[in-house]
């Protein structure tokens, strides 16, 4: 039986689809019976998805103008 502690170390292999079939079954069996690890998996997925929504800083107007200049120069080449 997989322990909860082991599961927290295997979670990336699981989410990355980098597990043997047998380990995958063990992982799923554990998740199916352990609500704490279900919560952990839920939280981990939410954390990952949150990262995917992190906005980047907008470009400062002067930097933008300069890049558009660079583009015009490139066009003329």
């Amino acid at each position: 039986m997989l322990t909860c502690q082991e599961l927290t170390e295997l979670i990336t292999d699981y989410l990355e689809g980098r597990m043997s079939l047998w380990d995958r079954i063990r992982f799923r069996l554990h998740i199916g019976t352990c609500r704490h690890c279900r919560a952990f998996l839920h939280d981990r997925k939410l954390a990952i998805k949150t990262l995917g929504k992190m906005p980047a800083d907008p470009i400062p107007p002067d930097v933008r103008d300069e890049l558009l200049h660079t583009f015009r120069d490139w066009k003329r080449e």
């Binding site: 322990t3 909860c4 502690q5 082991e6 927290t8 170390e9 979670i11 990336t12 292999d13 699981y14 989410l15 990355e16 689809g17 980098r18 704490h36 690890c37 279900r38 919560a39 952990f40 839920h42 939280d43 981990r44 997925k45 939410l46 954390a47 990952i48 998805k49 949150t50 990262l51 995917g52 929504k53 992190m54 906005p55 980047a56 800083d57 907008p58 470009i59 930097v63 933008r64 300069e66 890049l67 558009l68 660079t70 583009f71 015009r72 490139w74 066009k75």
Partner: protein, 240 residues
């Protein structure tokens, strides 16, 4: 407007938190621009369409800077690296073959510029080929939270927020995440930015960074675990 506009302004648009593993693996990139959109955009750029260039600059500049920051310490140098990358993009555009997505190609150019700059300034942190995650080999979860038989003693709580949007609406949560990302060891930070923030596939990240898949996965695991802990600490403070 054309379909090219769909790629603007979002680096991930998967619905809900009940995401399947397959979606996490393929990442937000899967719903971004396809090769056809890229081709249309490149044709516009090659034709000298300034609005098209302004479009990708608006869309990518901040993201390139975020990636550059994982290589070079100070903001000013990172900005220079991004400027150089834009020049590299323009120079390479005519020979772009579309073997990878335009986005991935631009990230590759940025990474190469950043590495060159890092070497020149002797400030780069080389990628180890030994499968090392660059940083201490920390457990994913504090061992004190488990009983001696490896079961939870202090179990995690299922977070009340159910969507990334709900999490990010909390200004402080976002600040904590940004801070935790900044504090990651540099190579973990690069991998996390590319994989989870930008949605580049594992294969392409290994390719861009010239590292082995297992090494990439170790770094991703450590980085994700660190951010998970940071978010958990904050949400538990906030909800209690």
């Amino acid at each position: 407007m054309g379909r090219g506009d769909e790629i603007r302004g979002t680096n991930a648009s998967l619905p809900g938190a009940g995401v399947r593993e397959r979606e996490l693996r393929s990442g937000p990139a899967a719903v971004e621009a396809g090769p056809a959109d890229d081709r249309a955009l490149i044709d516009r750029l090659l034709a000298g369409d300034e609005a098209a260039f302004a479009g990708i600059v608006d869309q990518y500049h901040g993201r390139l800077l975020r990636l550059a920051r994982s290589f070079v310490k100070d903001q000013a140098t990172a900005e220079e690296v991004v400027q150089e990358a834009w020049v590299g993009v323009l120079k390479g555009l005519r020979s772009f073959e579309g073997r990878s997505a335009l986005k991935t190609w631009m990230f590759r150019i940025l990474v190469n510029r950043a590495k060159t700059r890092g070497v020149r300034e002797a400030r780069s942190v080389p990628f180890s080929g030994l499968g090392d995650g660059d940083g201490p080999d920390e457990p994913a979860v504090d061992p004190a939270r488990f009983r001696s038989d490896g079961m939870w003693a202090s179990p995690p709580r299922r977070w009340e927020d159910d969507t990334p949007e709900a999490v990010l609406l909390r200004e402080e949560a976002r600040r904590r995440l940004e801070q935790a990302i900044e504090e990651l060891p540099p190579r973990q930070r690069t991998v996390l930015v590319l994989r989870d923030i930008e949605g580049v596939s594992a294969e392409e990240v290994c390719n861009i960074l010239e590292i082995a898949e297992t090494n990439q996965r170790v770094m991703l695991h450590r980085a994700r675990s660190t951010l998970h802990r940071a978010l958990e600490r904050y949400l538990e403070e906030d909800e209690s």
